[in-house]
Structures are given as structure tokens and as C-alpha cells.
């Protein structure tokens, strides 16, 4: 079956991103397709490459980036939410005159339309939040 996932909270503060990750890997293990993980609200904070969690802890961003690379999962950060929270890629840096970027590999910034599209095209949409 074709699944899509929505993540509404940032890494570490809430379990939402952990639960979503475990759900996605279980779905892939059992032969389902995960066509997109859409990050909204504080969820966009999962997509920064600037975190340095304690060495004995999980690295949430790297885990997502690896999933994108190994299983071709589309990781999309909502552009409006990124602008409010300070998530920036090359294009956004240019558009909004920012002097740095912080987006992590495997993530892309796009519009809310990508969430609606996921809702339409996936057989099921599962939301993780606070």
C-alpha cells in the first residue's frame, strides 16, 4: 500500500519524530511504499544539519537523511513553516537574504501543496504530533 506521513513536532522535544521514524521503517520492512514524509509546524526543525546530540543518543536528523538516501523517501519541509522557524536552503537564503543555510541532506523545502498531494495520492496519511 502507498503511505504518507505528517510530522508536526521537532526532534527530541516530543516523541513525534521518533514515532514517525519507527513507523516508516516498519512500513518499509513490511513491503509498503512510503511516498512522502511531510514536516509541518515545528516538524521542520527535524531538517537542520546543525544538531550535535549527545554521542550516546540517537541522531534524529542523520537517521532521516539515511532513510531518504537508502529508501528514496521524499522528505519535504513546509516552506511557510521553515520561514517562521529559520530552516533555510540555497534558494530560501537567496530569496530572503540570509547569510547561511542549515538544511540537511535528503530534505527539500516546498509548499503545503505537497501535503495535500500526499493526502490525495497516498492510500493512508498518518499524522504524528504533540
Amino acid at each position: 500500500m502507498k503511505l504518507a506521513v505528517l510530522v508536526n513536532e521537532g526532534p527530541y522535544q516530543h516523541q513525534a519524530s521518533d514515532s514517525a521514524y519507527q513507523f516508516v521503517t516498519a512500513a518499509l520492512r513490511t513491503g509498503h511504499e512510503v511516498m512522502r514524509v511531510f514536516f509541518y509546524h515545528d516538524g521542520v526543525n527535524n531538517g537542520t544539519r546543525l544538531t550535535t546530540p549527545p554521542q550516546d543518543d540517537r541522531h534524529i536528523q542523520k537517521r532521516w537523511s539515511a532513510l531518504a538516501q537508502e529508501h528514496n523517501v521524499d522528505l519535504v519541509l513546509c516552506v511557510a513553516a521553515c520561514q517562521r522557524r529559520g530552516l533555510v536552503d540555497e534558494g530560501e537564503a537567496k530569496r530572503n537574504s540570509k547569510d547561511a543555510t542549515n538544511i540537511a541532506p535528503g530534505f527539500r523545502i516546498s509548499g503545503l501543496g505537497q501535503l495535500i498531494e500526499a493526502g490525495v495520492e497516498a492510500d493512508r496519511l498518518v499524522t504524528f504530533g504533540d
Binding site: N8, Y40, G113, E117, G119, V120, T127
Partner: protein, 128 residues
Amino acid sequence: MEEEEYQGGEVKKFLYVNRRLPHGTIYALESLETVLIGAAFDQDVSMLFVDDGVYQLKKEQAPESIECKNFSKTYRALEMYDVEKLFVERESLEERGLAIDDLLVDVELIASSDVKALVDEHDVILSF
């Protein structure tokens, strides 16, 4: 936003469930942004206000007092985007001492016992 186009052709029934107060968190505002995009994509969009979500439609919100954006007028504009199906749960209003006259827009009142049937009619449920 030029990227916001969807050519898929398929139409699904989206139900946005609003259960939180406005202003204390951003969910009400960002949910509304999603509703507008969903409508722009020609999807079939309904909104359900239950629990503290009914406060989102309260008249006379003045968040200028806390230097926040007054997005409550956007609910009035939903009609222009063909979002016409706004459902409000009667029991949620009553517990809060609110009546239909306290709300910004015309809504359809439903009973708590009707919520399941409404949910069952929809393909995708989004609750922020």
C-alpha cells in the same frame, strides 16, 4: 505560490478537525493555511470544530493585545475559496457557555453523536 498546483485530477474528501484554542499555539493558524491550499487544489474540504476548536470562530478576537496576527477574519473569507462546509459540535459550544450568535460565520451545528458519521464520509482526516 507558483509551485502550488496539482494536476493529478483525483479528488478526495478532506476533513480538517480543529480542537484547539487560537493564539496559545500556532496550530489553528497553520491549519487554516492548509485548508486554503487544499481548497486551491480543488479538493473537497470540510472543517469540523469540536472541543476548544470552537473558540477559533469566536467573534471579537483582538490578538493585537498580545501583538499577534488577527487571522479570525480569514474564516469569513473561506466561502470565497469554496470552503462552505463548516461543522460545529453543539455540546462543545454548550460546555463553554457559547451560542451560535457568538460565532463569526454561518455554520452547521451537529450533535456529538453525529461526529462519527461525518468522519466516516471523509477520506483524509487532518487534525493539528
